[in-house]
Symmetry: D2
Subunit: 238 residues, 4 copies
Amino acid sequence: MTTVTVWNEYRHEREGGAASEVYPDGIHATIAEFLEDRGFDTRTATLDDPEHGLTEAVLDDTDVLTWWGHEAHGEVQDEIVERVRERVLSGMGLLVLHSGHFSKIFKRLMGTTCDLKWRNEGERERLWTVEPGHPIAEGVGESVEVPETEMYGERFDVPAPETLVFNSWFEGGEVFRSGCCYRRGAGRIFYFRPGHETYPIYHQPEIQKIIANAVSWAEPIESSTPSFGHSPNPPQEG
Amino acid sequence: MTTVTVWNEYRHEREGGAASEVYPDGIHATIAEFLEDRGFDTRTATLDDPEHGLTEAVLDDTDVLTWWGHEAHGEVQDEIVERVRERVLSGMGLLVLHSGHFSKIFKRLMGTTCDLKWRNEGERERLWTVEPGHPIAEGVGESVEVPETEMYGERFDVPAPETLVFNSWFEGGEVFRSGCCYRRGAGRIFYFRPGHETYPIYHQPEIQKIIANAVSWAEPIESSTPSFGHSPNPPQEG
Amino acid sequence: MTTVTVWNEYRHEREGGAASEVYPDGIHATIAEFLEDRGFDTRTATLDDPEHGLTEAVLDDTDVLTWWGHEAHGEVQDEIVERVRERVLSGMGLLVLHSGHFSKIFKRLMGTTCDLKWRNEGERERLWTVEPGHPIAEGVGESVEVPETEMYGERFDVPAPETLVFNSWFEGGEVFRSGCCYRRGAGRIFYFRPGHETYPIYHQPEIQKIIANAVSWAEPIESSTPSFGHSPNPPQEG
Amino acid sequence: MTTVTVWNEYRHEREGGAASEVYPDGIHATIAEFLEDRGFDTRTATLDDPEHGLTEAVLDDTDVLTWWGHEAHGEVQDEIVERVRERVLSGMGLLVLHSGHFSKIFKRLMGTTCDLKWRNEGERERLWTVEPGHPIAEGVGESVEVPETEMYGERFDVPAPETLVFNSWFEGGEVFRSGCCYRRGAGRIFYFRPGHETYPIYHQPEIQKIIANAVSWAEPIESSTPSFGHSPNPPQEG
């Protein structure tokens, strides 16, 4: 069974206000619950846990890690970021959600600024499926409507995705590459734009379906570990 | 100097109505003129010319071919399509414009249906630059506004572009991959969505700039012609 | 269960000589057998069957089609090629094996000549895994050695693969992109170079493993079928 | 005129031995000279210069930076690496040569380990052109032979290149993706494998031609600088 660690900054939801109403137990609780319901073995981890909840033991037992952060990216320790990065390069899947575009781990793996435009006025978003045959689009319609959201607009400063699965339209006039697949090392990474701490987007079934699909897609495979470094003898004479 | 052959179906503009007012001498005349103004050596060719104006002699002297067609794709002879295809594979650049998505030559080179959604109600389009460092985006702003146009919406059934340069937003709720780069054989292909027979889009300077940039980008280079077929002796012992 | 139709030209093996010794019941029998052993539901079809064995009923019940042909590509009826192409665009997986690079169906889907260099002198090939985290490389080592084979060399005139999984080395001095992934429409296509009618390459377990992995990778997903054509009302007002 | 800064670690060549014979004035002197000969405006910079020769003033006047390093990657200051990275993301071209695969700047921009296999036994390399229509292959033959070199073998742990231009064959049995194009931010990056401190590879005209082509390809274009961050008013109402 695929094991998923759902990581959340978990600050907004404890500060009162809209976030604590929409996600009273934290965004991680919501995500973990709908993934459990779809047959994944999940655990959660948050910023304020020791080692941010991402100990070597936890990562040893993680097939796919989902990442949500926003206001406290800078508090994530560099050592843990590097630990997670090494796991991804060794095959662990990584889902980066919404404002996680500015997380240290995503920026480190992409090599770019990962910057974008934003505007938080509750606009309508329409997420269009541009690759209907992709596993992350399985069972998803031609488009998914998010009634109210924060806008993210291009230019999104990331490397061109290896596969672009979703493309978003926003009421105010912007577009955004909302579902971006990458491979780094032996690991797969999916950036997924929808979601926010004060809109009930992670309660929306179509969004849950996409995230669950992405977890399945990002599962590690049993690959050979390449050997690196000095390769002394011409192998064909071996 | 780069030589460009501007091909046009040239039917709508001779049928009276809006097209003949917006492009009285044909879309090809407008495109050829703005390319001449930007330093290209241009000629035009149309469907009703002998061999559609695309004789071997013309193609021998063409670096980049631009293609606009709409209501008479079926009248383009298969033999000429194949002739153009061979030229593209040998290095000639090809720009496919707007409704040219359904041309025989584009469908033949892509291998897919090249189908899409459309709605002609004069909606506003905003073309966003998603790759600001790409030569086709040189001197183009963050976004280009087309005040009134026909909408084209995803799913656009083409192979994923090797580079996506522009992404369009439409007033009515759709998005579209509007500037798509491909390489086929030694030739480069750019599909560019904006443009229509009854809207003055090819009179818009930003659109002209993009088309001129794309012509420069698609110019053939002096490449070696690969040898194919039987390669009898292990070359290193040669 | 995934249903696989294993298609074979089945001419070499009935002409006597080495092919009939290495694959006495045809290449298709060998491929179908090792796929059955790995849990797929397989059937076979050959060129000389009515409709080449690829009736609408057969294709209705095919998740993934594998294709081997060589000396009789020209005898495959265009109507059947088009029928297969439509299925691929609708989601059916397609594996194109070795000399199938010159099949009508592969050339039609790629849009290019699909030409290459070749030399049949029983050279050694070493297939290197360049994407160890890809599902088609699951359980495959860093490299697979094929003791004797026909050489295929670059330039391979295909569109750049969306993912390059394997890269081959040949004793005589050439390299070849041997494992190429494409998506066309909703369907996935894998071109896999190793294999030949007179070398026992399809009896080699590592090669069988890769082909089985590719079948799993190419399985259709339950995707929404995009709507195309006129989209009359701005959908957000719907 | 394109300005090129040729950066070199410049240690091996001052340590005596083969490197000081093959590149008596340093690898940078050789590269700068052949680029000057081909019409570029060049300067050089080395590790032991103040700020490694990469001051803000120098970078202000650099269109393309070439990078060669090997034994002292760790001595490059992180601050300078970050300075270079910001320039690349803003549009400066970057050519990473041979053992530069392990430079801080390349690893930082790629996000992966950039590891590989190697063996230094003076084997023959053959560099095959896999994209003959690419500007970096202009005027280059089907293949380039390097008589004696250090082998680099796959798995090369980098993100899949956006375009793979060259693919290397080595006498001892390995292959390598030797010419890899990337875009990061507004900048273009080319990794080029051939070259070494003790083999006269940078004296070889075909190799010089490829490096000169890559400099031209990587030149910045005059792009709009995207605006990032808060985008307060729905722009279409503006």
